[in-house]
């Protein structure tokens, strides 16, 4: 400790000391500059080629996607603003939107390619949880519209255990067999249900069995009882 105090109080100057000091100044400078450059996130310049290729790929893909979206939106705008049948285009657009929203909200029937999954539960051991799992798996796999028995599944659908072998779906009592009808890519939905440790193996563990059928066309007729859909006016002639 004495040595430190002495050195601070009585500095000795020599030429090589000054040279060392200059080098240390350079070190401090480089240190600070490096830290700041790194903090600014400019390390893209020092990234290695393979990382750069990856980043570039991602950015290119993103830009393609955005360009597509831009073109689509511009076409829509073109139709809405400059089309000779401006109001008809607007009406068409709105009708399409209303239909999409209706399908999402569950107020209109829908049809398309999909699957039919029928779950039989002879031991009455399935719980609301199992059905919810199956539904979530379908949703994750891209199911757009789902119906279970005669209940249309929407965002607010709930499952409730109601004694052995009975499950209330949206307050409607249901029991085995539970028939899921889902619209979406049939192959994707089917493989999502069949992955190891997935829905099917869980069903088997609970002593239930599932029967899966892929269809080119399924119809979902159940609708959510909701407010009456206002009728759209006919297109002006």
């Amino acid at each position: 400790m004495n040595k430190v105090v002495r050195a601070v109080l009585h500095p000795r100057v020599s030429r090589s000391k000054i040279l060392a000091a200059i080098l240390c100044a350079g070190l401090g400078f480089a240190l600070v500059v490096q830290v700041r450059v790194h903090a600014r996130g400019e390390n893209l310049e020092s990234a290695r080629p393979s990382d750069l290729v990856l980043i570039l790929d991602n950015v290119t893909e993103e830009s393609h996607r955005l360009t597509d979206e831009l073109r689509e939106l511009e076409a829509t705008r073109q139709r809405l603003t400059f089309g000779s049948d401006r109001s008809r285009a607007a009406l068409e657009e709105t009708t399409k939107l209303a239909r999409t929203l209706g399908i999402l909200a569950g107020t209109v029937p829908a049809q398309g390619p999909g699957i039919e999954l029928s779950i039989t539960d002879p031991g009455s051991r399935l719980t609301a949880n199992a059905l919810l799992n199956a539904l979530q798996e379908l949703r994750d796999a891209g199911a757009e519209v789902v119906q279970i028995n005669d209940v249309r599944v929407v965002a607010s659908t709930h499952f409730l255990d109601d004694g052995p072998g009975r499950i209330r779906i949206d307050d409607r009592p249901t029991s085995s067999p539970y028939v899921f009808i889902a619209i979406g890519d049939p192959a994707t939905l089917a493989s999502a249900l069949q992955i190891p440790g997935g829905v099917f193996s869980n069903l088997r563990d609970a002593g239930a069995s599932g029967d899966l059928e892929q269809r080119q066309m399924v119809r979902i007729d159940a609708v959510v009882p909701g407010p009456a859909v206002p009728r759209l006016p006919a297109a002006p002639q």
Partner: protein
């Protein structure tokens, strides 16, 4: 003392000026900084041991930084730049720890 003053001046200069590092230098600067840090801690340890020599310090400082940068440059040419940078950082990290341990023993006798 003058050496520490130099370090301080360098840090302040770096904070005040905002230079852009030339592109060719970017992969090597961090490695060179770590190598130079090792030289500084080595110098400090030698000073506590009473065998500090300005000449040795200057030479080791410059050669450490240059060789470290050279190794990384060579690694980049050979396609193993990332691995070699890691290696250099590990080696200098161990040396810095050893030097700081010696300094600590001098300062706190523990």
């Amino acid at each position: 003392m003058i050496v520490l003053l130099g370090l301080l001046v360098g840090v302040i200069a770096g904070l005040l000026v905002e230079p852009t590092i030339p592109l060719w230098m970017q992969p090597y600067l961090p490695i060179a900084v770590v190598a130079a840090l090792d030289a500084v801690f080595g110098g400090l340890r030698a000073w506590f041991d009473g065998i500090f020599s300005d000449r040795v310090f200057v030479v080791s400082f410059v050669s450490n930084a240059l060789i470290a940068a050279l190794i990384v440059f060579l690694g980049d040419q050979l396609g193993v730049g990332g691995a070699l940078s890691t290696g250099v950082v590990v080696v200098f990290g161990i040396r810095i720890f050893a030097n700081v341990a010696a300094i600590r023993r001098h300062l706190f006798k523990a």
